[in-house]
Amino acid sequence: EDQVTQSPEALRLQEGESSSLNCSYTVSGLRGLFWYRQDPGKGPEFLFTLYSAGEEKEKERLKATLTKKESFLHITAPKPEDSATYLCAVEYGNKLVFGAGTILRVKS
């Protein structure tokens, strides 16, 4: 059973069109949920860590939230430079388990 599921697989937005990416997880006793951004051909870049339900973190146009079953990455008024694959991961068995990612394309 997959511990981490991300949706949608791909998302196309117009510049300025706000939306959300979803990361649902099945591990119990969550000890950490991580969001990364990955540009083509590069290593993932760390964005946020969330540790408990109700926690929120923001960075520029991105805001991450966490509930007991899922996390959302909200993108407000995106720009073309926000285009990337966004990965989430949860701590499981003392390691990180990654979802398959959401490919975001923002058109000007």
């Binding site: 000890r31 051909g41 993932p44 990654f98």
Partner: protein, 113 residues
């Protein structure tokens, strides 16, 4: 500040040839080190992790191996590459094991022909 290096950036190897990918971390001591493989359109698969020199844990049975000869050096090897070994290989480090942020290197694109 801490930095992580990987080389080579790209590699094309024939089936049956050996492999050696290197990862080094600067600016920190006794990091936890990780090797991941990323197939096209898929998430990261953890291959190996190390909590100290000479301490290697394998996550997935395969024809790859890892070694940590120095505190901040992590090497991924194979004696004979398979076609299925093609992929994007990423090295990462963290301060703590488990629920701690991992920081990734730039990656190595391996193509086995």
């Amino acid at each position: 500040s801490q930095t992580i290096h990987q080389w080579p950036a790209t590699l094309v190897q024939p089936v049956g040839s050996p492999l050696s990918l290197e990862c080094t971390v600067e600016g920190t001591s006794n990091p936890n080190l990780y090797w991941y493989r990323q197939a096209a359109g898929r998430g990261l698969q953890l291959l190996f992790y190390s909590v100290g020199i000479g301490q290697i844990s394998s996550e997935v049975p395969q024809n790859l191996s890892a070694s940590r000869p120095q505190d901040r050096q992590f090497i991924l090897s194979s004696k004979k590459l398979l076609l299925s070994d093609s992929g994007f290989y990423l090295c990462a480090w963290s301060v703590l094991a488990g629920a701690d942020t991992q920081y990734f290197g730039p990656g190595t694109r391996l193509t086995v022909l």
